[in-house]
């Protein structure tokens, strides 16, 4: 028995080594390639819909009668927030798990495939009613607006698919830990664990919400508790965007330092940032309800506190990133207080794209802090400012990091190499995307402060003078949107070129090592059970009081409405 274990341990070790030298196994590569293909098809489709919206909102383009603005908006949100981000994150982390844990277990690979098809099936179910104009309810689908039940059933399958992938990741990590007692989970798999913990626990509230909506949408139950649904939605909705952010952060800590020829930031602090983001994330969503009725001011204030706390690990990240850049540049002979920046590889898209993404997070994060506090939130709530904010965070900080990753991740999984031409294309793409986002999101922030609302098709509000004065700013949405569309086309071209046509060869999975003199990381960082308990306690502190109040002192519920 013992020899068997030893032997299987040995083959595992050989496999791990082989994986590192030869690259990913064909089966694991196929999984990641499929996930990434879906992600980039989603950005192509979602991008086209986004451009149509930008042009319409600026009053420059009339949508055809069979496709209205709100259908386009619902599909755009779902394609980019749910499909692009989720498929990229899962594809990337599964490649990371495979690389750092010595290959995926066959069982886990199967689970990821089942998850893949469940999500695709769920998405098709959700899109059919959107196309038929039976589900123009937006990404937030607030009751008592009621879409076709098929839409919600589609969402259930998407959530179940995500859970499959989360459990797969847990099983693979647990099996590695059993085989490597006393060792720390490799850092990228540590990030993956955090992301999948959040994906699982963060989607529990929306699962509960959807299970109460379905019987109501079918008409089996007459009314629904609107505030409970709304609160459950945001416990999930904001966690989701922070999950993509944590995915981008993993690349900043682990991948980017290697790309520039440096070393990783302090391993202990990195793990603390991951743990902090996992524990504090779910409660952050409540700030979407700062100006809701029916929630007392002390409860709202407690949530301001909880939402703002997420800023702390983000500020630590800001420090760590710039410290790594400076340290690396100085080692390469960079001089002066700020002159060292010349030593960074600006012409390398694998660095340039994530770097600009990080830089964008400075204003994006500041905007996030503004929205989290009472009075500032009231000024910008539901205005175009918010749309500008999440195009800066999601569209720039997260998606641009994903773009930067794709220039080595896709050659890595397709056993090809990044050519100088595609690198150049990537640099130009990065610049176009950056300009597009600055113009579009800048205009959105500004016009939002003037009072222009979000999620509204072109309207002058009966030629109201105030509304007409917003038009010049909205014009910039069209310009920015057009640049972004060019960026999408270039990106999608680069992705599929690298996947199928680039020259064959081996590409490295870049994972930075820690500094040589670094103290060993303490064991307590590995206690995921404890972190999950901490997270549940915090979620309880945040949500028990308001939810119990909404349920115990519930007003008569609302029947379903179809208002479009």
């Amino acid at each position: 028995m013992e020899t068997v274990i030893k032997q299987s341990g040995k083959t595992q070790a050989i496999k791990e080594k082989a994986n590192k030298v030869m690259g990913i196994s064909l089966e694991d590569a196929k999984l990641t390639k499929s996930y990434l293909s879906v992600a980039f098809l989603a950005i192509l489709l979602g991008g086209i819909l986004g451009l149509l919206q930008g042009l319409n909102r600026a009053g420059m383009f009339e949508l055809p009668a069979w496709l209205n603005y709100y259908q386009v908006l619902t599909a755009h949100g779902l394609l980019l927030v749910v499909v692009l981000s989720a498929f990229f994150t899962i594809g990337y982390f599964y490649a990371g798990l495979s690389h750092t844990l010595g290959g995926l277990l066959p069982k886990v690979r199967k689970m990821a495939w089942i998850g893949f098809w469940m999500k695709i099936f769920g998405f098709v179910l959700a899109v059919i009613p959107i196309l038929m104009n039976e589900a123009s309810v937006m990404y937030t689908f607030y009751p008592p607006m009621a879409a076709s039940p098929i839409f919600y059933i589609g969402l259930v399958f998407i959530v179940l698919g995500v859970w499959m992938c989360a459990f797969g990741a847990f099983i693979n990590v647990a099996s590695w830990r059993k085989r490597n007692p006393g060792q720390h989970i490799p850092i990228l798999s540590f990030f993956a664990t955090g992301v999948f913990v959040l994906l699982f626990f963060g989607s529990i509230p929306v699962a509960i919400e959807v299970f109460t909506i379905i019987p109501w949408a079918f008409g089996w139950v007459e009314t629904i508790n609107v505030m409970v649904a709304r609160t459950l939605f945001w416990a999930f909705g904001h966690t989701l965007v922070n999950i993509w952010y944590l995915t981008a952060v993993s690349a900043w800590y682990v991948i980017v330092p290697k790309v520039i020829g440096g070393r990783r930031w302090n391993d202990l602090l990195t793990r603390i940032v991951v743990i902090a983001l996992v524990i504090m994330n779910i409660t952050g969503g409540f700030h979407h309800q700062i100006i809701d009725p029916g929630i007392s001011e002390p409860v709202k204030y407690m949530h301001v506190f909880m939402s703002l706390a997420i800023g702390f690990p983000s500020l630590m990240t800001a420090y760590a990133m710039f410290a790594v850049f400076e340290r690396t540049a100085r080692r390469k002979g960079g001089k002066g207080l700020v002159g060292w920046y010349k030593k960074l590889p600006w012409g390398d898209v694998r660095f340039l794209a994530p770097f600009i993404a990080m830089a964008a997070f400075i204003p994006a994060g500041a905007g996030g802090i503004a929205q989290t506090t009472n009075q500032l939130n009231q000024v910008v709530h539901n205005t175009m400012w918010v749309v500008g904010h999440f195009h800066l965070t999601l569209g720039m900080s997260v998606v641009m990091t994903f773009f930067g990753l794709s220039y080595w991740l896709i050659p890595y999984v397709s056993k090809r190499v990044l050519t100088p031409q595609i690198n150049k294309l990537g640099v130009i793409q990065t610049i176009i995307w950056t300009l597009g986002m600055i113009i579009m999101s800048g205009a959105m922030h500004w016009v939002g402060l003037l009072g222009s609302p979000r999620r509204t098709s072109y309207s002058t509000y009966f030629d109201n003078a105030t509304a007409l004065s917003w038009d010049p700013y909205l014009f910039f949405l069209a310009i920015g949107g057009t640049l972004l569309m060019i960026g999408v086309l270039m990106q999608v071209y680069a992705v599929f070129y690298l996947m199928f046509f680039a020259p064959k060869g081996n590409t490295e999975f870049p994972i930075a090592e820690v500094e040589e003199d670094e103290a060993p990381t303490p064991r307590w960082t590995e206690r995921w059970g404890l972190w999950v308990v901490c997270m549940i306690v915090l979620v309880g502190m945040a949500y028990v009081i308001p939810l119990v109040d909404f349920i115990v002192n519930a007003p008569p519920g609302s029947p379903p409405y179809k208002t479009w």
Binding site: Y142, P293, L308, N464
Partner: protein, 154 residues
């Protein structure tokens, strides 16, 4: 292990976040500048029969002080086209008769969610004369972009 600059940065970050928290709390509780949070419940299907929403309208309740009772429904505000003299303080009492709406007045800080089943209250002083655009800023259906009215300050 930790560099001095890192410690300084951590302290600054911590101070900034705590500062934000304290300012938000101080404004909310000491200056009563908290966000609109009124808690009264109402049957969303019986709004028309429930006072004060059975008689929406504007009422003068004091020197330069007005009360506006308003219902929001797809895709309109009832009481619309309100007129008040400059320098008036207006107390809005709002509820929805159907889906979730937003109540926003451009060029002011008036912004509140109006959720069916709940009464929402928010107050604003209008100093500058002009025509203020009132609009719904929460997507509420096909005519959402038409849902607006005005407040005229003379």
């Amino acid at each position: 292990m930790m560099h001095r600059s890192e410690k300084v940065w951590l302290i600054l970050s911590f101070g900034m976040i705590i500062g934000f928290m304290l300012i938000a709390g101080y404004q909310a509780f000491a200056f009563e500048m908290g966000p609109p949070s009124y808690g009264e419940r109402i049957d969303p299907q019986k709004v028309d029969e429930t006072p004060p929403f059975d008689k929406p309208g504007i009422k003068k309740i004091g020197e330069n002080e007005y009360e506006v009772v308003m219902t929001l429904q797809v895709f309109s505000f009832t009481t619309s086209e309100i007129e008040v003299p400059a320098g008036s303080t207006v107390h809005f009492t709002l509820t929805s008769k159907d889906v979730v709406h937003g109540f926003q007045v451009a060029e002011t800080n008036l912004n509140a969610m109006v959720v069916p089943g709940y009464v929402q209250k928010i107050t604003q002083k209008f100093d500058k004369p002009g025509e203020y655009l009132v609009l719904c800023n929460e997507y509420c259906g096909a005519g959402h972009q038409m849902m607006s009215t005005t407040i005229t300050v003379k």
